[in-house]
Every structure is written in C-alpha cells, then in structure tokens.
Symmetry: none
Subunit: 197 residues, 4 copies
C-alpha cells in the first residue's frame, strides 16, 4: 500500500497546535511580525517540526487557510424571492461581521500575506471564492428568475462587491450603513440616469 513507509507518522496534534498558534499570532501581530519561534513556543512544538512541513512562513499561512483555520464564517442568505433584499442582507451580514476588531485585523493580516506571497494568494483566492459562493448562487438564481439581466457577469459582480468591502477593511474605514446602501444601489441600478434618456 502507498503510505506504508517505516518511521513515525506525522503528529496531527502538533499540526493542529501549530495552525492554531499561527492564526492567533496572525490576528495579534499581523503577517509582517509573525515569528516562527513564538509560534513554536505557543504550540509547544520544536521549530524543526514546523520547518519539516512548511518551507517558509508563507506556506504555513497558506496551509492555515487551506485547513480552514482562517475563515470568514460562510454567510448564508435565504431566498426570499427578492434578490436585491437578499444580496443586501448578505452584504450587511458581511459588514457586521467585519466590524469585529479581531476579524478585521485577521482579514488585514491575511490580505497582506496574500499580497506578498504567491502561494498564499492562491489559497486565499480559493477561500474567498468559497465565501462568495452563496452570493454567486443567489445572483444566479436571480438571473434564472428573470429578475437580473441575462448576461450578468455574476462572478465579476461578486468580486466587485467583495473587492469594495475588502478595500474598506484594508484602509480601516467604517463599513457603515451608508456605504453598504450606496454599494447595493450601485450594484443593482448602476449610475446612469434613465429619466432623461
């Protein structure tokens, strides 16, 4: 069989401890100030056990994301039949959850990590895609129901929404109701003045 090599197996206990410690450090200190020494100590693990599995700080963070230690809780939206209301609810939930200081700082940290490293960026992308899934699904249902235009670039819309929200988080601006409302209005109605057409 494949995995029947001799030698001790990888300790899942250690793996979990390392990833938890990494997430905590990331939240508390940010990506820039991550310290492998500190993570090892906090996880009660030898440094080599970290380096054995992760060639670099970024791979560690990447696995942290992959293993689901750094997740925005997936936001669900009921399908009330009114797309705009449902999407607005989703955005409002996201905004609310983002106002938690620790969530915001973890988001900033992980975004910085993604910005600086290719490997992290890939996993980050996957993770955000999952977050967007509900949004995309609801939008698609709206298209099918004829409420949204047939040729709507559903994923572009989702990305634009998430991009706008992340931008506010990164620049440390409030995700307040005014912004959310304007964003929803923008997304749905656009800015063209149709009265004078």
């Amino acid at each position: 069989m494949a995995g029947d090599r001799p030698g001790r197996k990888r300790s899942e206990v250690s793996r979990a401890a390392i990833l938890e410690a990494t997430r905590d450090e990331l939240t508390a200190e940010g990506y820039d100030r991550l310290s492998i020494d500190r993570i090892a100590t906090a996880a009660g693990v030898g440094k080599q056990t970290i380096y054995r599995w992760y060639p670099s700080k970024s791979e560690l963070v990447a696995d942290c994301i992959l293993a689901g230690y750094i997740v925005r809780p997936v936001i669900m939206t009921p399908d009330t039949g009114d797309v705009r209301r449902d999407i607005a609810t989703w955005i409002r939930s996201f905004a609310k959850e983002s106002r938690t200081p620790s969530a915001a700082s973890l988001t900033r940290a992980i975004t910085a990590a993604a910005a600086e490293d290719n490997a992290v960026a890939a996993h980050y992308q996957d993770q955000v895609t999952i977050t967007q899934e509900t949004l995309v699904t609801r939008l698609r249902a709206g298209v099918d129901a004829g409420q949204l235009q047939k040729d709507t670039g559903v994923s572009t819309v989702a990305e634009t929404v998430v991009g706008a929200l992340l931008y506010r988080i990164l620049t440390r601006q409030e995700l307040d109701d005014v912004f959310v409302d304007e964003l929803v209005e923008l997304i749905f109605s656009g800015i063209v003045n149709r009265e004078e057409r």
Copy 2:
C-alpha cells in the same frame, strides 16, 4: 526665525537616496522583507541617518508615498461629453498600467504595508484619493450634465471601482478586457433587469 538653528542641515541628497532605495527594496522584496540595513547600504548612508528622520519602517514607507516616490501615475481623462466612454478609458488605462510587473508588485507591497500599519494606511488612503481624483471629477461632471443620477454616491463609486481593481491585483488575476468591460457595464447599468419591470 524658526528653524535657524546652528548645525548642519538635513542632506536632501541622502533623503532622496533613502527614499529611492526604499522604493526599490519595496518593489523587489515586498514590505515584509524590507531591511533598513540594506536600504542604508544601498543608499550609501549610515543607519542613524534613517532613524534620525523615521522612527520606524512604516513611517519611512509612509514618507516614501507622501514624497511621491511610490505613485501610480495620475491618469487623466479627456471630457469627451460621453461619461461612460471617459470612465471606461480611465479604467482601461489603469488596468494597462497595472499589467507592468513592477507596478503590480509595488502595488501589492504598498497595499500589504497599508494593511499592516495604521500610519501607512493613512498616507496610502491620501495617495489613492489623489489617484481617484480624476475619476471623481469626471463623474461629478457627468452628474452635473444630467447623464448620471443626481444622488450618485460619487466617492463610493470611485472606491468600488478602485477596490475591484486592487482586488484583482492582490489576488494576481489578469486585469483583462473582459473584466474591465463587465465592470464598466456593472457600474453604469447595474444588474437589474428592466425589461420585465
């Protein structure tokens, strides 16, 4: 007179050398791997000369932005009378410029810096605001001309556009024509299906 203290004056040659070296390091290595020692050596300057003026890495980067060493070239748009065409042109220019590898990596580095540090974030915000200025001005003109809706949240629109573009840069996705076109369509027309109203 103020500032007429005795002693040697701050060397502008050194200041410029430091900021240039910082920008180069930032482009090449990213914010995370910035090294003051290396900057000092590259700039041919003693470390103390850096620390005399910048209490920390982030302040240095902040001044680097402030002094215009890290700028996206301000993109101008002619007012052809057609708002949508003009905005599309602006976005397309931004996208094109962002496809330069060094511009993209510098953008990522500085965004990471902003994500991790408050002081940088503030200057970053200012800088992006300047970048958005043309966009905002053109949009406002469109509103005045009656082409756009009166209550358009002009700066929210600008932020959403920039947010979406930055998001693509951060996640290392192509800023291709399809995305740009869909973004423009989204911004102007929204996604609601007006046929079946």
Copy 3:
C-alpha cells in the same frame, strides 16, 4: 543457558559498522565534532540501535577503544640483552608510527575524549597500559638482569615516557630523533653530573 532470551540477537554486523564509523568520524572530525546522526548514517544503522547499546557518546567511544578499534599497534621489542638499545628502539618505533597524520589526529581525538570524560578516561588508561606493557616487561627484565637499579619505579618510568611522547603529539611538535635521543638519555642516565661528585 544464560543469554538465551527470545527475539532477534544483537547484530554483530551493526556493532562493527558502528564502531568503525565512530573511529572514522573521530579521526576525521575529532571528539568535539562527533555526531551520532552522522555515525548512524555512515554505518547504515538506525540511531536507536546506537542508543540501545550506548547511553552516551562517551560510552560509545569507550567501547570503541575497548573493542580495539582505536589502538596504537602494539609495539614489540626484541630482547637483545641491551636494555637501553631495546627501549630506544621501542620509543623510536612509537615516534615513527605517531608521525602518520591519521594516527596523530586519532591520538589527539581520543586524548581529548579522555580529558573530558571519566568513562573514556578509564578505558583509555587500560588501553595505554596495554601499549606500555611491552615497555614495562622489557624494563622489568632489565631490572632482573641487574642492568637497571633494583628499586626502579618501572610503571612510573613507562608513564613518564608515554606522557612525554603524548605531550609532543598533543602540542603538535615533531617527534624527531633529537627529542627521542634526549629522552632516552634522560631516562637512563638522569641529569646529575657524576664527574664532579
């Protein structure tokens, strides 16, 4: 019968491989830089197989000496009837053999080991004693033959000779003919001037 326990018996092949690898490491690197990991790899043996039999680095080296992997070839001297000539021959042989670079470095390594560790020192002492044996025997024969003084502290003489030789090896001085001749003269005749008595 004793030792008839169940299970696989200790592999003499492994034991030999370990001791040989230890001797080689010792010669090449010295006691200070001995590495159990490297020995295990070189011997094609698991580390545990070493630790099962040797509680520490020093015990390993001690057994290495005990098992005769680290020996100065026993120097024999014919009994020509002339003690002084025979002893001189012995010393000259020892000196010659010590001029081999690998023999010298192994001697230094093992001496360092003995200096730093009690257990090694004991075995070292035994080993040197064996080396001295021929010397002591020949000296004793000389005493019996009336050529040497009756109350000669035979083992003190042997130790002094060996001590002097080792001292030259440790300090990396040549064991040249001049030194050997002076040593022999010293041992046999002493330094007192008998002419003017």
Copy 4:
C-alpha cells in the same frame, strides 16, 4: 594616524566579560560542552559580539589563554644551591596546585581544546612554555654551577616533567608524593644501575 577609523570602538568591558565567562564555562563544562549562547548570556553580551571577534569556539579559547585568563600560577623556586631540592619543590608545588579540582578540570578542558584545535595548541604551547620558564632557568643555573651535565637538553627535561604531570592529570590519577618522588629520582639519576658497571 593608523587607528583613527570611524565607528564605535571595541568594548573592552565586553571583551573581559566574554573571556571570563568562557573560562568559567570551560572549568565547569569542559571544551566539548562549551556553549556560545551560554557564554553570551553569562557575559551579558550579544552573540554577534562574540562572533565579530572570534570566528570559532577555538579562537575564543585561544584568546582566553593569550589574554591570561587561563593560567596556571607561575611557580617560583628559590635557588637554594641544591638543584635537585629546588626542582623537587617546583614539581611538588605544581602537583599540589593541580590537586585543586577546578584547576584540574580547567587543565583537562584546555588540554582537550589544544588536542582538537591547531590555533589553541599554539597558544597553549606558549602558555606552558611560560610555566616551564622557571624550571628551565633553574635547570640552566644547575648546569652552569656544574651540578648537572653540560650537555643536558634542558627544555626536553622540562617538557618531560610537564608531560608526565599532565598525563597524570588527564587520566585523572592522583599526583601523589610517591609519583613525584619517583619522577624526581628518575629525572636526576636515571635508571641505569651504576653499581655493577
């Protein structure tokens, strides 16, 4: 002028602290178990300050000897006119001093160091030479006074005496009166039986 380089000067306080800590570690742990980390901590010094001046553990120990932090107190001998008595006194003093546990362990450590490293060996040699100086001087005076044979290889005698003593220290044998007396007898009278000539 020569030494007018820019930059902060080497801290003599740190140098002294490092050498003292090294000597203490050497006495307590031996050469093999020397730890630069521990020395740095004990000396209240950054590790780099050690590595800046000493490329390796052995260079550090070498400077420690050179700077006189590891010395056997120089043993003086009055010239009573009786060479044998004076030399015996010297040896007895050396033996007595060597019975101090810390002196013995430091001697063993430094001898191990000399055995394993060329650079240390050179300085060690110098240091021992100084120790032997008194001995050599007294012997030479004995030769001049006609008490010793004219062609006595004075330094070979000194080396043999010291070599024999060090050998006993290395192998952890007592430097008792019996040994000392036999050594003195051997050195002065040799072992040849003159009665029956």
